[in-house]
């Protein structure tokens, strides 16, 4: 069962909400609704489910409604319509007391600009949620300390937020959210205010923490690289609507529409794509059946200067070059084994583009994608470049 199930969740800002709602149901665009009613559509009928232990990333450019959406989840902003089911309970409809209870016990939030209380020490900040719950003072301190140690700030408990760097402040923000031991962590552009190196550290740390904690995390970001790094699934938002939900790969490889494609264009693909995505079906010859003559014919047909050699079970044996095969034919050598070269440049299916680069850079021949000794595909230089340029030639190979 999903931890969070969102159905038809909308937020309209403005005065003629009823009119705007009707237009929205008819499928009128955001701009048109603004023109006709003066209302702004913040979130347009969003629906999705988040499974337990999942990192669900909501991504979009500024103004796409992602920050509004996350605030609808814990009702910092009142939804106009739709439902937010958390453990089967519709938060959009519960009374204030129940809502407070959910906020105290089930959902915590981490904010973009940290939102630490400047008049409280780090320890008091981390213990804020516990204090609000009315936990006993000793227990508060103990839990807040544990939480701070979890994020590596055990030594700073008596400092004030302004004495800490941005990265450390956000760790406090994270510790404060974790101290409540919530089921769901809402992270609103939590790392966006940090500089790139720190941001990467924080992403790694979040993933490490997540590996142990298995929280359900809803992470808002405008940075696709970040989304791809940490998301199990990604929802892409545009103009208040969710335009695509999928795994990082699905979004990159099969963008649902032009908008997603455009978004994806700028991504540093080298970090996301792996050998499997860009390899193609290899031309091979079977060492048990074929000799140099066949090898040469095959290379001529395909216009290539080397060819991989396998056995009947696709186990990679090596490769032969056109020059060697030609010499062999002249010298009437029948056995491929005599001209077989075995200095094969190989990568695995999940090798990332960055690593493929290093291999392909000084390899005179296409590199082989090998798993358990079997040849699955080959990668030519052109494919790497095409993939990095995002020219749509990236198709999952069925090899």
């Amino acid at each position: 069962m999903p931890v969070i199930k969102v159905e038809g969740l909308s937020k309209i800002f403005g005065k003629n909400i009823n009119q705007a709602k009707k237009l929205l149901d008819k499928g009128t665009t955001k701009d048109e609704i603004l023109k006709q009613t003066g209302c702004t559509v913040g979130v347009n009928r969003a629906s999705f489910e988040v499974e337990e232990g999942e990192v669900f990333v909501i991504m979009g450019l500024s103004g796409s409604g992602k920050s509004t959406l996350v605030r609808l989840l814990n009702r910092l902003i009142e939804p106009t319509e739709g439902s937010v089911l958390v453990d089967g309970e519709d938060l959009a409809k519960v009374d204030k007391q129940t809502l407070r209870k959910v906020r105290r016990e089930k959902m915590s939030m981490v904010f973009q600009k940290f939102a630490l209380f400047p008049h409280r020490t780090i320890l008091e900040n981390a213990g804020f949620g516990l204090e609000i719950q009315g936990l006993e003072k000793n227990e508060q301190t103990k839990k807040a300390k544990e939480s701070l140690e979890l994020v590596g700030l055990g030594d700073y408990i008596n400092q004030y937020p302004e004495q800490l760097s941005g990265g450390m402040q956000q760790r406090v923000g994270l510790a404060r959210a974790l101290a409540n031991d919530p089921e769901v962590l809402l992270m609103d552009e939590a790392f966006s205010a940090l500089d790139p190196l720190i941001r990467k550290d924080m992403q790694d740390e979040l993933l490490d923490l997540q590996a142990n904690m298995k929280k359900t995390i809803i992470f808002i970001t405008h940075d696709l690289d970040e989304a791809l790094r940490i998301g199990d699934r990604i929802a892409l938002m545009k103009d208040g609507s969710i335009v695509q939900i999928g795994s990082p790969e699905e979004i990159l490889v099969n963008p649902a529409n032009d908008y997603v494609e455009k978004f994806v264009e700028d991504v540093d693909r080298s970090k996301v794509l792996t050998a499997e995505h860009i390899m193609k079906r290899p031309e091979t010859i079977n060492i048990e059946k074929h000799g140099p003559r066949v090898a040469l014919e095959r290379m001529k047909d395909e216009g290539i200067s080397s060819i991989y050699v396998t056995d009947g079970k696709r186990n990679l044996k090596g490769y032969v070059t056109a020059d060697d095969a030609s010499d062999a034919r002249k010298n009437e050598i029948r056995d491929l084994n005599e001209i077989l070269r075995t200095d094969v440049p190989t990568v695995k299916k999940d090798t990332s583009m960055n690593d493929i680069f290093e291999v392909i850079y000084d390899s005179p021949i296409p590199i082989a994608v090998v798993e358990d000794g079997k040849l699955f595909g080959i990668i030519v230089r052109g494919a790497v470049i095409a993939a990095l340029a995002g020219e749509g030639e990236v198709k999952l190979s069925n090899a």
Binding site: R71, N74, L76, L99, R100, K101, V102, R103, R104, E105, M107, S108, M109, F111, Q112, K113, A115, F117, P118, H119, F128, G129, E131, I132, Q133, Y160, E162, R176, N180, L186
Partner: protein, 281 residues
């Protein structure tokens, strides 16, 4: 052209209204007048009974610590207070101080809750703001008239007029301070499930403290200025010295009493300001 209507009887209406209030609420005004009057007499007598040297020492030592162990304010306090003592205005100084203290405390007790109310409700803000404008722009002397009607003459009407005159800054700054608390911090406190009062006392008021203190500083200064004016309806203190010098056209004594007020004003101002900055980490 403009005489299409008789003169509207505003003055008469206000007088009648004030009379009505005086009669109707006399059951309320009389005990306030007696109780507060007795308290003020007792309090100012006690203050005046403390040996001046002790008061001066306490002020100087407090000034030293409050101003962050600097010597400027303590030295000024020492010389200033000694000068007032030397001019035989000590008792007047104590009366004035007692009035300012009580009026300010009342103004803050009344002002802060109204400020909170204003910050929480736009309706309240739109109702209270013009009232505050009215209270602050109405010439201060005008408050003396109903004050006398309600409470007779003496210290109590002086306090009443001072409270009316001095409350607005506390209300305004409390409102402003709470509204200035960053939206993210308010969201954070909501997101962790704070109740309204948890949010107010754990986040909003502590965050707004500096702004509210600035308002209180203004309130204290305004109540000092009003306490001086209130000498016209019989409030004792330095103001009365100024007034009597004015009535007799005595420049010298008037100047001396005026200097006394200036010294008191500066000391009070620096004290309240430094209380505000002292907590800064």
């Amino acid at each position: 052209m403009l005489d299409f209507m008789e003169k509207i009887k505003i003055a008469e209406a206000v007088s009648a209204f004030t009379d009505w209030i005086t009669d109707t609420f006399s059951f309320l005004f009389n005990p306030i007048k007696n109780q507060l009057g007795n308290f003020m007499d007792w309090f100012s007598d006690k203050l005046a009974a403390i040996p001046p040297i002790i008061v001066i020492l306490i002020v100087v030592i407090a000034a030293f610590f409050i101003s962050g162990k600097r010597v400027g304010l303590p030295i000024f306090s020492l010389i200033g207070l000694w000068l007032i003592y030397n001019q035989e205005l000590w008792e007047e100084l104590m009366f004035t101080f007692a009035l300012v203290l009580v009026a300010s405390i009342l103004a803050v007790i009344i002002g802060v809750p109204f400020g909170i109310l204003m910050s929480k409700s736009r309706t309240a803000e739109s109702i209270i703001t013009p009232i505050l404008d009215f209270m602050q722009t109405m010439p201060a002397f005008v408050y003396l008239i109903p004050a006398v009607a309600f409470f007779g003459i003496g210290m109590v009407p002086g306090i009443f007029a001072s409270v009316i005159f001095a409350t607005p800054p506390t209300v305004r700054f409390t409102n402003l301070g709470i509204r200035q608390v960053s939206k993210e911090l308010v969201e954070a406190s909501d997101a962790f499930g704070s109740t309204g009062s948890q949010k107010l006392f754990k986040v909003e008021l502590p965050m707004a403290k500096r702004t509210i203190m600035a308002g209180i500083n203004q309130t204290v200064m305004l109540s000092l200025s009003m306490v001086v004016i209130a000498s016209m309806i019989g409030s004792p203190g330095l103001g009365r010295e100024v007034l009597s010098a004015l009535q007799r056209a005595q420049v010298g004594p008037g100047f001396v009493a005026g200097i006394g007020i200036v010294i008191l004003a500066i000391i009070i101002d620096r004290f309240t300001q430094n209380l505000n900055t002292e907590k800064k980490k």
